[in-house]
Structure formats: C-alpha cells, structure tokens
C-alpha cells in the first residue's frame, strides 16, 4: 500500500455477481449511492451485459460509477479452492485486482465467503503479523457502545477460520479492537473472549492461553471472558471466538430475530386482542425490529488483509449492499488496515512468537 493518497475519489470495487439475487440488487445499490453519496465512486465488477441494462432501468449519476466487465464469477455452490485455475477472471478476483492496481480502495462482495477470503489473500495480501483472516459481524445489543452510542457489538470470527489457535485469537482481538476504534470512533473498545465461563481458566486450551496473552497486552482493553448471554446484552464492545463458534452464534441470533418477527405476525393474525396489543406496542416493536435488521449493519469486514474487504450477506438486497459500501468507505477513509497493522506491530516480541503458537 502506498503512503501517498491516491489522486482520485475514494472508490469501492463492488463484486456484483456473487449475491443470491445476481447483479440487479448490487446495481440498484450503486445507482442509489451515486445520487445520495456522490462523495465516493463505485466500480461495478461483473458481466457488463447484465449490469448495463440493469443500470439503464434506474436513476443514477454516471460520474460516480463505472463498470469493469468480466464474464466469470463464483457461485455460492462453487468450491472456492479451485477458482484461481477454473475461473481466473471471476468477479471477486477482479474486484481484488482492481484494488491491488490502486484503482479502488476497498472491496465489497455478497458472494461466496471462501472465495472472497482466497481472492483477498491473493489480491490484497495480508497485514504483516496476521496469519489468519477473521470475518467480523455486528450483532445488535441491549447496551450501546462508543461515543456514537452504536446499538451493536462486534463479533469475530464468524466463519473465516473454523478453528483458531491462541495466536489467532489474540490477533483477532487486536483486529477487532482496531476496527471498532476506527469505524465506531471508540478510542478504547473493550474486548473479551467467548467462553463457557468468565473465569480465566475456563474454556479450551487455546482460549485459556489467549486469555493469558491478552491480559499482558497494554494496548488492548481486555475485559476477560464473556459467556453467550453477554453477547446480546452487549457487556463488551468486541467478542472474540473461532469461526465455527462465531458462525453458530451469529446464525442463532439472526434466527431468533426472524422467529420473533414471525411469531408477532402470527399473533397479529390470530386474535383481535393480540392484534390490539401489538398495535399498541407497534412503535416499540418497530424499534426492536430495526435493531435486529441485519440489512442496516452493512456487511461484515474480513479483517487481516492489507485493504478493506466487506462481505455482505448472500441474501443482501440493495439496502444491505449499499450499507456495506458505506462501511467500506469508512474503513478505507479511516485507514483501518494501517491501524490494525500498527496495533499488531506494537505487540512486544511478536517476531519471537510472543503471540503463542
């Protein structure tokens, strides 16, 4: 990454092909952003034969948009492993390439997570000192966080690395802290490890070891261990776990939100009295629904790479993709990856393996 600021507006490379809904939703998001947020540009990466007609059906400002054509993409069903050989021009690879060429500052994709991680590893490169990437997601919480009083906490990893060593967990903690600091303007975010008890000796060996290392790091506001119930309560700003556990927790939280919404709809339809009660509560319920709405949180950053990459949900519609682009812009402008790089570099004696194996 160059030290010199590029002589162009902040630009996002948006992989249009990866999401469940094809390029239409990504194009709708970019078209809307071109009008509402002309302070940054979007490069639409994908099949111009599909992107162009979709764009022409919408109101947009062409001065903020361009198209980078490729006729290959990775579907959700594709195994990411062979993409470099089978689909060397896949849209996610091209999006990362556009960033590595210095023409864009961050990548946004709603596509295959594995492919996004592999493409980022090749195209963007890892931050020195980071061995494994982590996918971070925001989860709605009861307590607010940081000076902006954000109603969510950061949970990582939620699926990039299935099992994590103590060293990985420590770097996840550093990255999560740096991300929360850069994106939420929270100067000293509290960080905790997810475990089955708050005591330092609770949990599998890698968690116990990570606890020991993090307790000795002066620049991380380490709050010890938290349990699952602390996540929705929001007792800390950043919760660290391995990708397997994080993914299970995240999906469960999303599922609970959807079930509550379905139950409320069901109750509304069943009895007049319940309908009356729900109508009385409607403004409060709307607030809860809004807090649980993953579309407004703008995707999950995949941390550990030298340039920001934001993974939007595969089911994302234009609103969620648009919010993911806004997060990407914020990450790029706050120089988030440099903040992480500096934080990792400050860990004393890391080159000698102080972060553990």
């Amino acid at each position: 990454m160059s030290d010199v600021a590029p002589d162009r507006p902040t630009t996002i490379a948006l992989d249009c092909m990866g999401g469940d809904h094809g390029p239409v939703e990504a194009v709708a998001a970019a078209a809307h952003l071109s009008i509402t947020r002309p302070d940054f540009h979007v490069i639409l990466v994908g099949d111009a034969g599909e992107i162009g007609p979709a764009l022409d059906e919408r109101e947009y400002d062409p001065s903020c948009l361009s198209v980078r054509h490729t006729d290959q993409w990775v579907s959700m069903d594709d195994s990411p492993r062979g993409i470099f050989e089978t689909k060397p021009q896949a849209s996610i690879l091209v999006a990362c390439q556009v960033v590595s060429e210095g023409r864009a500052d961050a990548v946004v994709t709603a596509g295959n997570t594995g492919a996004a991680i592999l493409a980022a590893a090749r195209g963007l490169g890892r931050i020195p000192g980071i061995r494994r990437a982590a996918l971070a997601a925001v989860t709605p919480t009861e307590q607010t966080h940081g000076p902006n009083e954000d109603p969510f906490a950061l949970l990582l990893d939620v699926g990039a690395t299935l099992s994590a060593s103590s060293r990985d967990l420590v770097t996840f903690a550093i990255m999560g802290s740096a991300y929360a600091s850069a994106i939420s303007s929270n100067p000293s975010p509290s960080v905790a490890l997810l475990s089955n008890g708050t005591e330092s000796h609770k949990g599998p060996p890698e968690v116990v070891e990570a606890h020991r290392i993090l307790s000795e790091l002066p620049d991380v506001q380490f709050a010890g261990n938290v349990e699952g119930l602390d996540i929705p309560r929001g007792s800390v700003d950043v919760v660290v776990t391995n990708g397997f556990m994080g993914n299970v927790v995240l999906k469960m939280l999303e599922g609970i939100g959807e079930v509550i919404s379905d139950l409320a709809s069901d109750a509304y339809a069943r009895k007049f009295l319940w309908r009356f009660g729900l109508t009385m509560l409607s403004s409060g319920l709307r607030q809860i629904q809004q807090a649980l709405d993953w579309e407004q949180y703008g995707g999950a950053p995949i941390l550990g790479f030298a340039q920001p990459i934001i993974k939007a949900h595969g089911r994302s519609r234009s609103k969620a993709i648009g919010n993911a682009c806004k997060v990407a812009v914020k990450a790029a402008r706050s120089d988030m990856t440099r903040v992480i790089e500096r934080a990792v570099a400050k860990v004393p004696g890391d080159e000698e393996g102080a972060l553990g194996a």
Binding site: R8, T11, A48, C64, S66, T70
Partner: protein, 339 residues
C-alpha cells in the same frame, strides 16, 4: 451560402438550469436578471464551440425554441450575449396571447407549440438544402417525442394523415395542427436529423428512451454530448478540450468522474470505439493539454474495462416508429411522476 449544420436548442432545463416545479420558483424566474441565470453545466461552452466559425467551412446555424414567455426575450437574449453565444433564430412562446384567448391547454402544450415552429423554421431557412441537424432538449417534458416526430416528418417517414392523428392525440389546438400540416406539405423532405440529445435533467432512466431508437441520445451532461458530437465530426478536438476544461474548472468534476461519464456513453452504445482512438490522437497532436490528456488516459482505461461488452449503435432512425404508442409511453412516464 449553405449551412454546415443546424443546431436547435431548447432553453429551460436544456441550456439554463430552470426550476419551475413550484409557483414561487416560477415567479422567481420571471424576475431573474440575465447575470443571475445559471447555465446547465457545459451548455454555454458547448454551444459556443458549435457555432464557432471554421475557416473554409460553411457557418453553422443556431435556432433556439423555448417555452418561456415572449416577455422574457430581452433577459434571455442578454444572457446568451453574456455567454458569448450567437443565434440565428430565437422563438419564445406567446403565453400572454394564449391566456388572453383562453387557450389554457396551450399554456402547457409543447407539441402543438414546438412542432409547427420546427417545421416552419426548416422550410423558411434559406439555402437549407440537406443541411444536417442536431437537436437539444431535456427529459422534463416531451422533447424526445417532438424532435423525433419532427425528424420523421422532415424525412417523409410520417405522412400528413399520421401527423394529424398524432397531433390530435397529443391535444394540440386545430390551428397548431393546421400550421404543422401546412408546413409539412411545403417542406422539402430530407433525412437531416442526425441526433437528438436529451439532457437528463430529471435523471430519467436511459432505458425509457430506447423506444425512440438510437437517434435519441440521452446525456447526463454536455461533456457526453461533446464526445458524441466529436465522433460525428461536428466538434474538433480543441472543442472537446474546451468543454472538458469547463467541467474540470467550473463544475467540480475531476479526471475520474469525466472518465466515468465517457464510459457511460460508450456502454450505452452512443460512441464508437474509433472515437476513443481519434480523440487520443487529436489530443496528442494538440500538445500542451495535460488536463485533457489525463481525462483521455483514464477514459482509455474505462474503455478497456468494458472488454467485449462494448457495442456501438449507429444513430440510424428506427424503422416505423408508432407515434401514438410513443405518446402513450411519454404519458405513462408523466403519470408515474405525478405530472
């Protein structure tokens, strides 16, 4: 003397930034001084370049047809003088007369106002021969419809019966229908209209204009129009540089935003691949124009980004446009807008 090209321009929302969406703004416009009127970005620079005399070539002709009331003539003429634009014809709408005669429909009607004027203007222009035309309008009203109808009447593709049916369906008064028919009958047919530029003031999605065929070129600003006019041989490289500079210096654009605009007009099929090459070579020949050269360099990059997806549609008139269907198409959009 003959004409190398005839340019017909609308004023409000095409040449001038005009907001007549509210009564307050409408009244405000009437009292604006010439120096207070604001141009659509690049419009003055482009029109100046188009009407510039070129040694060894016939002059171009500029005909302005505006829906503004005749009472504004002095102000508007002064504004054009300030901009350094010259014109050969300047028509304004007789709104006071419409009001006095109780022709309230005519206050808003554009088809019955502009079409007979366009046809008469062509007929009455001396030595017009087969002089080609480029027309400039906007997406606020029915300019694409009116200009396309004019082009096809002029070319003899729409006969008098069809013209009458269309004008009646459009709600034109009978004297406007008669005037159009009279002008159409005495007109020397020529397939003269090359392109119809529609300034997307309201950001109407470009797909709306597909029904009019590739002769209609929706443009987001006059940088895009300048590129298309360059490819048609109506604007030199220096003219493109001048318009480019107007955007770089006065309109807050940068090389990236202009390159994006370039790609957009290529992607939509209005600019051939050869134009890129010709413009690059011409700018190289001009020498000391680093600002424009950067725009060209980034445009080449955007051009290559489109890969195999580039396609150019020559601005040929579409065969057999059904103007009654097009009228419904226009009305459906106005209805959707709440107009």
């Amino acid at each position: 003397m003959s004409w190398r090209h005839i340019y017909r321009w609308d004023l409000d929302k095409t040449y001038l930034e005009t907001d007549f969406e509210s009564l307050r703004r409408l009244v405000g416009i009437a009292f604006e001084r010439p120096e207070e009127k604001v141009n659509v970005p690049g419009s003055a620079a482009l029109l100046r370049e188009l009407c510039r005399d070129v040694e060894g070539l016939d002059p171009s002709r500029v005909c302005i047809i505006s829906g503004s009331p005749r009472q504004m003539r002095r102000t508007l003429e002064k504004k054009l003088e300030i901009d350094g634009v010259r014109w050969d014809e300047f028509h304004l709408k007789p709104q006071w007369e419409n009001l006095r005669r109780g022709r309230f429909r005519a206050l808003r009607d554009q088809v019955g106002y502009k079409l007979p004027l366009l046809l008469r203007s062509r007929r009455d222009t001396e030595d017009v021969g087969e002089a080609p035309e480029s027309l400039f309008g906007d997406d606020a009203e029915a300019d694409a419809f009116i200009y396309s109808l004019y082009a096809d009447v002029l070319a003899g593709r729409v006969d008098v019966d069809a013209l009458v049916r269309t004008l009646r369906a459009a709600g034109a008064y009978s004297d406007a229908v008669d005037a159009s028919v009279e002008a159409a009958r005495s007109l020397e047919h020529a397939d003269a209209v090359e392109r119809i530029f529609i300034h997307l003031d309201k950001r109407t999605p470009p797909a709306f204009f597909r029904a009019f065929g590739p002769r209609v070129v929706p443009v987001y600003n006059y940088f895009q129009a300048a590129l298309v006019l360059f490819s048609g041989g109506h604007l030199g490289a220096m003219g493109v540089v001048t318009v480019t500079r107007a955007f770089l210096e006065a309109e807050g654009h940068n090389a990236d935003s202009l390159a994006n605009l370039f790609q957009d007009v290529v992607r939509r099929g209005h600019l051939p691949a050869s134009a890129m090459q010709e413009l690059g070579l011409a700018i190289q020949e001009l020498g000391d124009v680093p600002d424009a050269a950067e725009v060209v360099w980034k445009s080449v990059q955007r051009f290559n980004d489109l890969g195999a997806a580039r396609q150019f549609q020559a601005p040929a008139p579409p065969p057999g446009l059904d103007y009654n269907q097009l009228l419904e198409h226009v009305r459906a959009r106005e209805h959707a807008r709440g107009g």
